[in-house]
Symmetry: C2
Subunit: 348 residues, 2 copies
DNA sequence: TGTTAGCACTCGATTAACGTGAGTGCTAAC
DNA sequence: GTTAGCACTCACGTTAATCGAGTGCTAACA
């Protein structure tokens, strides 16, 4: 890290430059700063200071005879110690609360909405992960025939998963089989169930039910799949197209590459998976591992989902994003989610 | 409609021009045609024919001294009577079949994958609607407590819907209530259930169960909501960003407008909702009702979902899309879906 | 010693002028 | 009816000229 021994004046000037650049997206010159700011200094003085700041690595000049642009280090310094608190309007806060409260009745969708809210508050792309409860109890398993060749398998943990299975089983056999499955599996955690267990159930069941053994195997496989798939992390992206609005991506090819990247859930999972650091974290430009995102910034926060599991909410935008606003928004949203989930998701 | 009395030669020339333009996206000149095609004609002759075709409204000239570009009418004529059959490779076909077959175990997702396949086959944006079974029987209703303050409501029709409800009810009461709900509601169709019915159940239930009446009302409301929400049409978009690849949208602002449009599900629903015409239908350019899409084309097909309900699968791309390929792809996919759904979704 | 006015200089961006070439329409000859 | 030939048009790419925002440096000033 670069030493932080900046004079008060330099700090003010740096802040002014970055604020200005975030707003205009154009190299800012000494004159603009000397005019706009209260600090009673001429452009010449500011010029000298800017030259210093450049030498220190906080600013760069796209070319001689252009104004200055913040470097990654400049943004980093800004985020760490310069930026002003952003105050989110009270209306937005209450609106957010209402929105989230209303969604609690569909917990599965809460996270999706959190991402939507983050992107609408900030107007950048937002990503949210909704880790399925990795190891929650199986509360119930059910098999319900829904059409002539189709049986619906339903597994209730903290969440509900269902999948249609092609099999010809009558209602009675379904009921018997689900009773049996419940007896064997309910109350267990997903981690406790391995393939051998399933095979054991198969052997024990085979003769007790009037189900074609081949079909039975199929169903048990699906049960196994469904239970173990439970740990899969869902991930949502919102407003990815917003990057088209920022001049730094007016290059269509680049924009398309980023959009493709943001569409690929594997990428996104890698992107947001990190140590469960509390608090808000920013990755600025090259601090980012992915090449394509190296002139973007990613600001993320962990929220806790019930007991141990935690999810992530992140905003992706241009390096010159409005960090103050993004930080404030993520802080607000994650706090609200924590409150709500902490209350409702406590294991009973 | 314009009269169809084109000489064979004119037809050949028009076809060649459109084929070429679809490929290059650049105005095509007489020389290119006279060289490429087998018809042994000089550029001068072709020039005359092109002038005729322009007068007839099939071609337009961006400016004097540029080649010709097909008009909407030109594309229409091409689609109606010029375009060659496109043969989809056998590998793609078998791959598609396997993919769909594999997804049958999750019928709800089948349509989503159909859209994905359509967009990957054609490389244009694809939209698919998955109308929920509007009026299927309620097979089962279940209430399962999943956390200290949360009860999961599960409604099985042909599909499974679930939603978490904040309520403190113990397992026993849940069971009693679900038994009661099943007794009253199972076997009915969604249409048969109105709000009065729910209220009646409430009155009848109130005293039999040890559930806080306020909570009971809440739950019944959710049951009602969930059952009636069943008719809601789900809609999926895929590969919207592909439009960035086509030079006609290199204008970023326009591209963003279209992307926004394609993100708004309300728009999309309006876009694809039409009379359930069988067969494949194309809306070319201005034939489209939405202003933003007036230099796009939309090709759509209906697939039938079980008995009466039908869904739509559509591809959206530039007017100079590869119609033959798109038609063939949609034809293939919709046929496969019809086959699969016709078999598995038959009401039992 | 720090600040500032003044000035020469740099260099991207904008505009203008110009040549190039793909393509046309028309005419006259085959 | 077809085609070779030719004058004409006009978007596009290149080059040259101009402009101006912004800089660094120097010298004067408080």
């Amino acid at each position: 890290m670069i030493a932080v021994d900046l004079s008060d004046r330099k700090r003010k000037i740096l802040q002014a430059i970055i604020d200005e650049y975030i707003w205009t997206a154009e190299p800012v010159g000494s004159r603009a700063i000397s005019k706009k700011e209260n600090l009673g200094l001429s452009s010449a003085t500011i010029r000298n200071e800017m030259a210093d700041l450049e030498e220190m690595g906080y600013l760069v000049q796209p070319h001689t005879s252009a104004g200055r642009v913040p470097s990654d280090a400049g943004y980093r310094f800004y985020v760490n110690s310069l930026m002003q608190n952003y105050k989110i309007g009270m209306e937005a806060v209450t609106q957010l609360r209402e929105l989230l409260e209303a969604r609690v009745s569909q917990l599965e969708k809460l996270i999706k909405y959190a991402a939507a809210i983050a992107s609408s508050l900030t107007d950048y792309a937002a990503v949210a992960t909704a880790p399925k409860e990795s190891n929650s109890h199986i509360r119930k398993i059910d098999l319900v025939p829904v059409a002539s060749h189709t049986v619906m398998l339903i597994v209730v943990t903290r969440d509900v998963q269902s999948r249609a299975i092609n099999a010809d089983i009558d209602g009675e056999s379904c009921e018997k089989l689900s009773k049996l499955l419940n007896a064997k599996l309910a109350g267990l955690k997903a981690d406790d169930i391995d393939f051998e267990k399933i095979q054991k159930i198969q052997r024990e069941t085979e003769n007790k039910l009037s189900i074609n053994p081949k079909v039975l195997i199929d169903i048990l496989h699906f049960v196994y799949d469904t239970i173990t798939a439970d740990t899969e992390t869902e991930i949502y992206v919102n407003n990815a197209k917003s990057i088209l609005r920022y001049p730094e991506y007016s290059n269509v090819e680049k924009a398309e590459k980023i959009l493709s990247f943001l569409e690929d859930k594997e990428n996104l999972k890698k992107l947001v998976e990190t140590d469960g650091n509390d608090g808000i974290e920013a990755k600025i430009g090259k601090e980012n591992d992915f090449e394509i995102l190296q002139d973007c910034s990613l600001v993320s926060v962990n929220y806790s989902l019930g007991d141990k599991t935690s999810g992530k909410l992140a905003v992706i935008g241009p390096k010159r994003m409005n960090y103050a606003k993004v930080f404030a928004s993520l802080d607000l949203i994650s706090n609200e989610i924590d409150k709500i989930l902490g209350y409702y998701m406590n294991d009973g």
